[in-house]
């Protein structure tokens, strides 16, 4: 009896194992590559022949029937190209599927299979596949810095393809959004190209038209300099410390980042001779910028600002609820704001410049580019798709459907595209002045924003903050040099 029970249990276990194995093996396998089908055609050709005779003889008409049978040669298997992306938004996925479908329908040699991965796991999946030797062919990179990827050998050098391409314009700042062609922060590294710009983005001023009109300001005359912001905020503020109902402007809200303000002073981190040193942080411009931020903080009170900022979810922020009429935000936001509050009127303006003589309306941008794996098995196919995908017509379609921007200057300057969305005009102007600073060095930059935040949160004075962050920056550069000998 003992043996029977254990045998039954053993059988049960084996049965369970078999069932599991069968289930797993019967799991849907990879989608088969769709093939191009060529049909056999029979063509009949009729030929009439006339014979002319001297004496009146009957005409002979002969019919020659030619049968033409097209030789069907089995078409070569189409090569599958895998394209790793993170688009999950309905609109973008729709546009992408449409374009990919068109490509798969028309292409004779290649078929593209998009593979979705949630944004956060993109790098892990890409790098794991790279390391295993079975990489994904194309990556929609989450940043525009394909140059840096090229430096780290995570992307293929595209010079051979791009220089010979007839579909893509040459990689110069005139043909593309300028900052996408920069060294390291763009798709270039040591003069070589490692990615093709696809979707750049930028940040600029959003203005609450209703609030402006309410206090007698003209939305057509936006704040141009830092000082304008202050004076406009004087008019737009409502309430007092402890009970603010409207905050004119706050330089740490939205997509306003500290380095953008530094750049708008005409300043660049690396406009000095470095020779493997961190940039010098303690400079008058940096101090002035930090002090300017602190002035805004003290204008409203830190606790007030924190409480107000924290009270909004990502869905609804102070701007769209009318509590913050001037906000720096990203170029993707207008579409979003439209969904949240369709009736809310927004005016757009360039990022404000410093009142000094070097001031410029520059801004910061990132975005997405398309990259090929350095050990891809089908780089030709990958390039074929990228080239086709980033053609002018396809990019125009993308632009108008999704409301985002693309990297090609010819598409951006197309009047139809410009009219498609109300914020495009300012966005295009801003894109031209985005990321004004080249990055000549591969090692990490200093944490200017961290220094400002230390002072903002009252954890250090400006001197202490700059000193502390300088030490960290020096340490980071030394670390980089140690881990990258010979670079």
């Amino acid at each position: 009896m003992e043996k029977r029970m254990t045998r039954r249990q053993a059988l049960g276990a084996v049965g369970g194992l078999l069932a599991s194995a069968v289930l797993v093996a019967c799991a849907p396998g990879p989608t088969p590559t769709p093939q191009v089908i060529v049909k056999e055609v029979t063509k009949v050709v009729e030929v009439e022949k006339e014979k002319v005779v001297e004496k009146p003889v009957e005409k002979v008409v002969t019919q020659v029937v030619e049968k033409v049978v097209k030789e069907t040669v089995a078409p070569p298997q189409r090569t599958k190209i895998t394209y790793l992306h993170f688009h999950s938004d309905v609109v973008r996925v729709g546009a992408q599927d449409l374009l990919v479908g068109n490509y798969n329908r028309d292409s004779l040699k290649y078929v593209v299979e998009p593979v979705f991965v949630p944004f956060g796991e993109l790098t892990q999946k890409w790098e794991a596949a790279l390391a295993s030797g079975e990489p994904f062919d194309i990556l929609l990179s989450s940043g525009m810095d394909a140059g840096r990827m090229g430096m780290e050998k995570k992307a293929l050098n595209l010079d051979a393809y791009w220089d010979a391409s007839k579909k893509l314009p040459p990689a110069t700042p005139e043909n593309w959004v300028p900052y996408t062609i920069l060294e390291l922060s763009g798709v270039v590294y040591q003069g070589k190209k490692y990615g093709v710009p696809f979707q750049p983005d930028t940040r600029f001023l959003f203005l609450d038209v209703k609030a402006f009109k309410e206090v007698g300001l003209d939305p057509e005359k936006p704040p141009v300099t830092w000082d304008d912001l202050w004076t406009y905020a004087d008019k737009l503020d409502k309430g007092k410390k402890g009970a603010w109902q409207r905050i004119g402007f706050c330089p740490v809200w939205g997509q306003s980042w500290f380095w953008m303000w530094l750049w708008s002073m005409g300043w660049c981190e690396w406009d000095q001779q470095n020779e493997f040193k961190a940039s010098v942080m303690d400079r008058p411009e940096v101090r002035e910028c930090i002090q300017w931020h602190i002035a805004w903080r003290d204008r409203y009170g830190r606790d007030d600002l924190n409480a107000l900022a924290a009270g909004f979810t990502g869905l609804v922020d102070a701007f769209i609820t009318g509590m913050n009429p001037i906000l720096v935000h990203g170029s993707w936001m207008p579409a979003r704001y439209k969904v949240v509050k369709p009736a809310f009127e927004i005016a757009y303006a360039m990022f404000p410049r410093h009142p000094g003589k070097n001031g410029r309306h520059s801004s910061w941008g990132a975005g997405h580019c398309m990259v090929i794996a350095p050990n891809s098995k089908h780089p030709d196919g990958a390039w074929d798709f990228i080239e086709w995908f980033l053609s002018a017509e396809n990019m125009k379609l993308w632009c108008t459907k999704t409301g985002t921007f693309v990297g090609r200057a010819d598409v951006m300057n197309d009047p139809d595209v410009q009219k498609a969305h109300p914020h495009y005009k300012i966005a295009f102007e801003q894109l031209k002045l985005t990321n004004p600073c080249p990055t000549p060095v591969p090692y990490p930059g200093a944490d200017y924003r961290g220094a400002m935040l230390l002072v903002w949160d009252g954890k250090a004075t400006i001197d202490e903050a700059l000193k502390q962050k300088q030490e960290e920056a020096n340490q980071a550069v030394q670390d980089w040099i140690k881990t990258h000998p010979g670079q």
Binding site: A27, T31, P118, F119, E121, K341
Partner: protein
């Protein structure tokens, strides 16, 4: 009758055990009730959000009652991705590991709990050690291994490791096995039972609560696993429900209402499994015939 009344201690009703027992039980019930309501509030809020319209969700504050009730948010879940297909995939990758874990962990736990063999303690420490290294630094070699086995884009990497026992499961069952008196095993050994026999005929039936716990936790762990399917699956036809949930989150925005709706739907099978497993959690153990303890 005289004897009985003499033996019963006469105490006032407010000091009798029965009274205090009742009071304690009522207090416990009320405390649990209050806690339940608190625990359920976030879930109620999820349901409320799932049924709200865009306009209402964007209001601050947006209130509790959805006005109007937007059932389409639930519909959206089924149109955004092939829900039933993903459900099937989730089931495959969640149920099979349960079988694997139950089969393998019990055997290994027995070895650690009831047998003495050279190297046991060292191996047990190594077993625990495998839980102490974060996965991010070991997953690339594992990925490469599966890649060499041509198992990327299949369910194998998600399912096979369970058949080798998980450290957590083995540790848990081992603890449970150690609470079972040695005399039972000894008696069986004297009857000529093999160790596997002891395992299946004595230990396993007595450990139903522990095994049920392991089963439920394993199911849930795989059901809620996003990372494994994301890394190892490429074909949309094989995606699980957790990846489906990720469709509602994009780089720039989150579709909160369908996300909450989908989360609630994805929750349901786990609750069902838990309900089924509950029966075993509460199974008491009848240990008769043990004297002298």
């Amino acid at each position: 009758m005289l004897v009985r009344t003499a033996m019963r201690r006469r105490v006032p009703w407010w000091r009798s055990n029965k009274f205090w027992d009742r009071v304690t039980r009522t207090a416990v019930f009320l405390a649990l009730l209050a806690g339940s309501i608190t625990y359920l509030i976030p879930l109620a809020w999820m349901l409320s959000t799932a049924l709200k319209s865009d306009a209402q969700v964007y209001q601050v504050p947006s209130g509790w009652i959805p006005k109007p009730i937007v059932w389409q948010n639930f519909e959206m879940v089924f149109t955004r991705f092939p829900f039933w297909l993903f459900l099937r995939n989730s089931l495959i990758t969640s149920v099979i590991p349960v079988i694997g874990v139950l089969l393998s962990s019990t055997v290994v736990a027995y070895a650690f709990a009831r047998l003495d063999w050279p190297g046991r303690n060292l191996l047990f420490m190594i077993l625990l050690g495998t839980m102490m290294l974060p996965e991010q630094v070991t997953f690339i070699p594992v990925y490469i291994l599966w890649s060499r086995l041509k198992a990327i884009n299949t369910f194998w990497p998600l399912v096979v490791p369970s058949f080798f026992g998980g450290a957590w499961n083995i540790f848990f069952i081992r603890q449970f096995f150690r609470t079972i008196p040695q005399e039972l095993s000894d008696a069986a050994i004297m009857d000529g039972c093999s160790h596997m026999g002891i395992l299946w005929r004595i230990m396993v039936p007595l450990s139903k609560p522990a095994l049920a716990t392991i089963a439920v936790f394993t199911f849930m762990g795989h059901w809620n696993d996003l990372w494994g399917p994301v890394i190892y699956l490429n074909d949309k036809k094989m995606y699980t429900l957790q990846i489906g949930l990720a469709f509602f989150r994009s780089e720039y925005k989150v579709d909160w209402q369908p996300l909450m709706a989908c989360s609630l739907l994805v929750l349901l099978p786990s609750i069902v499994i838990f309900f089924i497993g509950q029966k075993y959690f509460v199974q008491g153990i009848q240990l008769t015939g043990i004297s002298g303890r």
